[in-house]
């Protein structure tokens, strides 16, 4: 008997890393790696489920920056080059490891993975939006949006026009990509600022998510804790993240991905093999980076790693999927008796955890969905929209300010390493509002400049930059991107104000920061 719901959400996002000015650019690899290791494996899981008639339900948020990169022809061509390069490397590896059967088996596995990735990529006309759209259209996936460039809303409290622009641009872009309006949104970093629900309502969005304490600290007390959504004042529904199921997957200590039989993320032939052999497959200037070919398993908390055994890891993934279901069943049965109501367990994860960090993640998901479908009937997989249709009546609660970041609030994005950005971001936002006010009906070159100004502003607002500054890796790049977009914005502002737009330069930055082709600067108000 069905006693509760499981709502799985994968949040997929990468910042806009497109650098036409360089043939090879280190940070663009974030996208290529995620395509090979996460997005395509996920698509292949969905394809397999469909082939075997497994009627699954999953919610996937695809950030507008990620979608924009999927549909960008330059990045598509570059990905093809990238994957061809990997196929070449993996082929060489099958030769090199010929006399080492345990490595040779793995080299063949990677060769197969890369070839499949290429085949899948081409099958969807190099644009992965086509794949995700298909699974949404047949009813298995519910794709939701996120803020245009993943701006973190609680720290944009003083610049609401920018929040509105982040939302409007996101919804518009969603519609262009999927031919319909988004029903829900993944607020970047799960960051909720009280009152923002009204802005979501204004864009026709029906629901969003907060971390557990966002609901538990809501006012009045939510009767069902984080196990039922609530309606905000605006009427928009708010779901709370379940921490127990999150921890099982996320935690580096107790979580599944840390199992010793799973593949080790850090050992990579890009670091291990002779420079002469590997140089064409790492960065142009010879900097050693990960290639994606990794031969070892986590083994233990040691540097002395043992060779990866795929079949053992697959067994583990199946076992962990079973364990996850067992725990959810116990949780749901307990809550069902206790609440006298079917609880909903909302389990959101970063999509890039699956496949990229946790190599076996897509397999785990595949086992999970199949087992849920075939082996039990206590838990029902559900999308938020479906759940709200079946369960329309909910308590009215005002959720509390919260995020899913470290310590639950804004400290990650507002601390000594990154607090300097806010005076500049605020000023740029105010300037943008001023430009819109002064130019309600621009056309021609002026309109192009205004649209580009909004692109630069939005790009500077990505929460990724502050996050990277806080975590301490790739800091130079994050600082550079923040400054670069702000400087470009400021120059556009001056040129627009001074009626001296440099068309040559404008064309150049339109080409470089080409996100959101159909942007309308007037959404910033």
């Amino acid at each position: 008997m069905n006693k509760g719901y499981l709502c799985l959400i994968l949040h997929s996002h990468l910042p806009y890393v497109r650098h036409p000015e360089h043939e090879k650019f280190l940070e663009e690899r974030w996208l290529y790696e995620a395509i090979t290791e996460t997005y395509i494996p996920l698509i292949r899981v969905f394809e397999g489920l469909l082939r075997d008639n497994v009627d699954f339900r999953m919610t996937l948020s695809l950030s507008p920056t990620l979608l924009s990169m999927f549909s960008d022809s330059l990045l598509q061509e570059r990905y093809l080059k990238h994957i061809n390069n990997l196929i070449e490397l993996a082929s060489k590896e099958t030769e090199r490891t010929r006399w080492q059967p345990e490595f040779n088996q793995l080299a063949h596995m990677y060769l197969e993975i890369f070839k499949r990735a290429k085949e899948t990529f081409l099958r969807y006309q190099k644009n992965l939006i086509n794949a995700f759209k298909y699974f949404q259209d047949i009813g298995n996936l519910e794709i939701i949006t996120s803020a245009a460039t993943h701006g973190y809303f609680p720290l944009m409290e003083a610049t609401k026009p920018s929040v509105r622009a982040q939302l409007k641009v996101a919804c518009q872009h969603y519609k262009e990509s999927f031919g319909r309006d988004p029903k829900g949104i993944w607020l970047p970093e799960c960051g909720y600022q009280p009152g923002d629900d009204q802005l979501l309502k204004d864009e026709g969005i029906n629901y969003f998510f907060v971390d557990a304490h966002g609901l538990l600290h809501g006012q009045p007390r939510p009767k069902y804790g984080a196990f039922a959504p609530v309606y905000c004042k605006s009427g928009v529904a708010c779901f709370g993240r379940d921490l127990e199921s999150s921890k099982q997957v996320w935690s580096s200590i107790e979580g599944y991905p840390g199992d010793y039989f799973y593949r080790d993320f850090y050992r990579d032939i890009g670091f291990d093999l002779d420079l002469e052999y590997i140089k064409d497959y790492i960065h142009l200037d010879g900097a050693r980076i990960a290639t994606g070919i990794k031969y070892y398993r986590i083994t233990a908390a040691t540097n002395d790693k043992q060779v990866y055994i795929p079949s053992r890891a697959t067994d583990k993934a199946a076992e962990h999927a079973g364990n996850f279901i067992f725990n959810r069943q116990k949780q749901i049965e307990y809550l069902y008796d206790f609440l006298q109501k079917k609880p909903i367990i909302v389990s959101p994860y970063d999509a890039e955890l699956f496949g990229h960090w946790w190599f076996e993640g897509p397999q785990w998901l595949d086992f999970l969905i199949r087992k849920l479908y075939f082996d039990q009937d206590i838990i029902k997989m559900v999308t938020p929209s479906e759940y709200l249709r079946e369960n329309p009546r909910h308590q009215k609660v005002s959720p509390s300010f919260s995020s899913w970041g470290w310590k639950g609030y804004s400290e990650v994005w507002l601390q000594g390493t990154n607090d300097w950005i806010y005076r500049h971001l605020d000023e740029a936002s105010e300037r943008m509002t001023e430009l819109v006010k002064f130019h309600p009906q621009a056309s021609g070159l002026l309109k192009r400049a205004l649209n580009q100004a909004l692109r630069e502003l939005l790009l500077s607002q990505s929460s990724d930059w502050a996050f990277i500054m806080a975590t301490g890796t790739h800091v130079d790049y994050a600082v550079l991107r923040t400054k670069q977009h702000l400087l470009r914005f400021n120059r556009l502002f001056e040129e627009i104000k001074g009626n001296s737009i440099d068309e040559h330069w404008l064309s150049e930055i339109e080409y470089r920061d080409n996100i959101f082709a159909n942007i309308d600067y007037r959404v910033h108000q």
């Binding site: 409290e157 804790g225 127990e244 206790f338 310590k407 507002l414 000023e427």
Partner: protein
């Protein structure tokens, strides 16, 4: 190479020519000339070295973000239930005006942040529940402020504390509200939840919370205490 050397020479001459037109040499101006030459050298230098690894800024005029935007302002942000953040800018002309118009201003004058608790009031500068001061120096332009009590509204004045203890506001911030740090005391009539039930739900929900605080202790009168 020779052409380049010639260009550097010409540039140098140009700088000297301009500098020569300055009637009076002062140390500062010499410095300025030197730095101009240094800039010239920097501009031509890369040709002697291999291309920088990443010259992303090529199309943009080399520049830094401005240190200020010529506005007097102070802005608040909420970090979490216990901390807020302020950044501010006071223009040089405002400082000058203050120096001119405040006769009692001397070296004993302190620049302070006055942090007002404005919860549930329409703040007019004098009706705060309480306030506390933080002494900052003239080089600071931002501050992380520990407000200690969650679920309050805050407003901050940046101003001068004069030797005679008078406070002179220079700029006033926006008002922000910090969140509650535990469950609300308010229970819904229609969706009533018992203390015991909610405590269990809260335990289930926050057991693994990223909010690194102890579990709340539920008191009989519904007022919760969050132990540090």
């Amino acid at each position: 190479m020779r052409r380049l050397a010639q260009r550097v020479k010409d540039a140098f001459k140009e700088v000297i020519r301009k500098a020569g037109s300055i009637a009076k040499w002062t140390r500062g101006k010499k410095q300025a000339v030197r730095s101009k030459i240094a800039v010239q050298e920097k501009v031509t230098q890369p040709r002697f070295y291999r291309e920088p690894k990443r010259e992303v800024q090529k199309i943009d005029k080399p520049q830094q973000l401005p240190t200020g935007y010529g506005k007097d302002k102070i802005v608040l942000r909420v970090r979490d239930p216990y901390w807020i953040y302020a950044y501010w800018e006071i223009t040089e002309s405002t400082w000058e005006k203050l120096r001119r118009e405040t006769p009692s201003l001397d070296e004993k004058t302190k620049i302070i942040l006055r942090v007002y608790d404005t919860t549930d009031t329409i703040f007019d500068g004098s009706n705060a529940h309480s306030f506390f001061d933080i002494v900052v120096n003239s080089f600071a332009n931002n501050w992380h402020i520990e407000t200690k009590t969650p679920a309050r509204s805050w407003c901050v004045d940046l101003g001068l504390l004069l030797p005679d203890n008078r406070f002179l506001t220079i700029v006033r911030s926006n008002i922000v509200s910090t969140p509650i740090a535990g469950p609300s005391c308010i229970n819904d009539q229609e969706w009533m939840v018992t203390e015991d039930m909610f405590a269990r739900l809260y335990g289930v929900g926050v057991g693994a919370s990223p909010v690194k605080r102890g579990k709340p202790i539920f008191l009989p009168d519904s007022k919760q205490v969050i132990p540090d």
